[in-house]
Amino acid sequence: MVKYTEVQLNDAFAALADPTRRAIIARLAKADALVTELAEPFAMSLPAITKHLNVLEQAGLISRIKEGRKRRCYLNPQPLKQAMHWLTDYEKFWSQSLQRLERYLNQTK
């Protein structure tokens, strides 16, 4: 019985609840891109796309790096992956320990 109350996961899912942002992630999964390149297919203004990018960046899903006057965006899947790893490993550790606790309690009745 594992309950995940994971802030980063929540942020990530909230960020991905928007179709434009999902499309941006899908686009960045193929290759990194300049902000201007990301804006093109959506017929959006730069400020509008920047708002979406801010949400994605705050959720830790993308990074932006300056290239002269332009900004390049990269997908950053690590926060999600790491959180999942951590939960999985400690879940295993505690499950097995608690199983032993249960056995210990039964044995020493």
């Binding site: 019985m1 594992v2 309950k3 995940y4 109350t5 994971e6 802030v7 980063q8 960046e57 830790g60 990074s63 690590q78 926060p79 790491q82 959180a83 790893h85 951590w86 939960l87 490993d89 400690y90 879940e91 295993k92 550790f93 505690w94 499950s95 097995q96 320990s97 608690l98 032993r100 606790l101 249960e102 056995r103 210990y104 309690l105 039964n106 020493t108 009745k109």
Partner: protein
Amino acid sequence: MQTSVDTTLTLVRKLNAPIEKVFDAWFTAEALSQWFAPQDSYTTIVHTLEARHGGHYRIEMISPEKESYIVSGKYLEVDKPHKLVFSWSWDHDKTCDSLVSVVLTSKDGYTELVLTHSGLPTETAAQLHEEGWTGCLSRLPQAL
């Protein structure tokens, strides 16, 4: 860019024993050494267990290959026999520092245990380097 990752794991168990006995199993060296290990093949030595608020604990788990894993911390909240909160830190990797809380509730004929392991302090994106994290995590399964 600051990114904080707050990771919380919660496990719930029904234990067929009185609440006092379950609490003592967590809070006495003799009992802990008998069950606190991820696998039967491990040997557990409780080096320190200061059973009081603010007291420290230090527990060593030794694998069949004689590898030693030491976890230590401090009892931050002691409400016998209902609640125990302690910090959690592996000797071999301080990036794993976190917090464990054990809450016990006496139910009809059993004791409910809610274990929460939380607050892995990974505050900056720089700290989120795959290397540091996977190092911390990859060593864990070896201990299991």
